[in-house]
Symmetry: C2
Subunit: 326 residues, 2 copies
Amino acid sequence: MSRSESTLHDVAARVGVSTRTVSRVVNGEGGFSTATGARVKAAIDELGYRPNLLARSLITKRSMTIGLVGGSMTDPFFPELAEGVHEAASTVGLTTLFAATDDSVDRQHQVVESLRSRAVDGIILFPAGGLIEPIRILADDGLNVVAINPAETSVAVSSISSDITGGARTAIAHLRSRGRRRIAFLGSDSPYSTRREAGYREAAADDEPLVAKANPTADGGMIGAQEILDRWPRVDAIFAYNDLMAMAALRVLEAAGRSVPDDVAVVGFDNIGLSAHLKPPLTTVDLDQRNLGRLAVELLAEAIDTPERISRQVTHPARLVIRASS
Amino acid sequence: MSRSESTLHDVAARVGVSTRTVSRVVNGEGGFSTATGARVKAAIDELGYRPNLLARSLITKRSMTIGLVGGSMTDPFFPELAEGVHEAASTVGLTTLFAATDDSVDRQHQVVESLRSRAVDGIILFPAGGLIEPIRILADDGLNVVAINPAETSVAVSSISSDITGGARTAIAHLRSRGRRRIAFLGSDSPYSTRREAGYREAAADDEPLVAKANPTADGGMIGAQEILDRWPRVDAIFAYNDLMAMAALRVLEAAGRSVPDDVAVVGFDNIGLSAHLKPPLTTVDLDQRNLGRLAVELLAEAIDTPERISRQVTHPARLVIRASS
DNA sequence: AACGTTGACGTCAACGTTGACGTAACGCTC
DNA sequence: GAGCGTTACGTCAACGTTGACGTCAACGTT
């Protein structure tokens, strides 16, 4: 209640013990009588004492804080991942600091340095540009770090990777099982696109590959989908880089008078919250961002608690969610 | 590059000066020769020295960090606000810490205490339950705090409030100007709903009020929209609590064979990124979250830099964005 | 030549906390 | 009743940094 600045000294003075004893009570270390404990706790309440985590971390070298670094908060992929991380971290007593890189490697370097200055115990990182190398350097420098879905892996860096190629393969197999043979890939220029394209090419091996690229946004999707319709008018399915682009494809197809899924089937990627509520609800590949985040925290927490450097590469399944658009 | 832990002492030892001099160089305080400055900077680079912000904050009482507390990251309102805050904070050298309350007052108390333990310089807060009182207590306790869109304001608390009632009024006026007279309000049980409802009732005064309530989610929207259709089959417009519910209404209307906007117009609230890309692009009320965040940072930064306690109540306009759904 | 001023450092303590270690009092054992 | 272990404390230094202040040499002024 009272003016917010009180310290161990204030509590100690009020009770008439040493600060060390108050510290013991605060941390439940034991080594104090129940009577003393009660008096100290009472004083803590009266003074509204709150431990200064900066001072504590300065000496313990543990801040009980981790960093989560991603491209952008408005990237639909990120918030769910962030919630998964945040939730898992909370349950093991870790606080999460978020930072955004705008997918720039330079900016990533800056925010990581800033987090290290704040003495975070470790960092979960969605690599800018998908690049593993800048992260390997961090790991070599002794930072506990876990990469989520890097474009390539490194034995020196803990990572957790969604089976993106597998997910794409499953999506294409699904479309083919429904008789689609002229399947287009509405890709993007992002490094994450190549894995989807790989799955697409593997699973659609016999068919002619129809590939267009655009920005991984709704606007980009409209341009790309239009390009597909123009170049391959007889297309009977579109597999999009993400749900945003798939959503745009839905609109373009409607405007072109093609019915979904009768004329053209559409499959997205990411299973963002809205995809279930689109015009025809969208078939999509679910990466389960929340669980991805949870796993990343587990990996990181293990690394933090282990004195030696450890690194593990984990893969995480991608699951096809079939809805009315295919 | 080298093993990450080097301190002022290490740099000082290497150059052969005192830590105080290195500190002066690091902070650009002046009081050192250009030659010494160059040698210190070289040593800093060689050793990969990074100042320990915890130690610095411990003594300066400034952490250059602010907290941003909101309901949930996946709440579509939050990420854009967060980006606005983050961006504005960065440009004035402030780092942002995010925390989520799940709209629970207890949880809000916890996360705020946790942020204070980390010695944040101030907190921007989206009040759980819209309640101003718990925040007034914090302000009285000497915490720099800015509330965003509290359900009510207090002269003791800096706040920035969107003109939600005005936005709702404008939306309804727009619908009436298009000849709609049986306008339903698809509200929610959240405290923020009452302001929208107030605007709705004011602007639609002559008409019979048609109000349904449901959870402020896409699923809730489907239930609420269905209820509206069942109870008032001749409804000619739906004004929804948020874009998620409006999106759901769009689907329910389509399923019921009502065309939008010919049979029923739909207006949402929030202007989330996707609303421009819905089946008929959605008319909605834009709160400009990004700017809201920016303003909040300005207010907070001013409070931080002012020794005396100041509090200001600012209102922020809501703007109707007219698209094809109305 | 004496004096004040300025620049370029250095010294010391403090921020709030915890690790390492010390110690006095008490109870128990044989 | 001497010896020993345990309990419940206290003391001191350290974490990495900066604020306050001191020192010393060089310089300009009169």
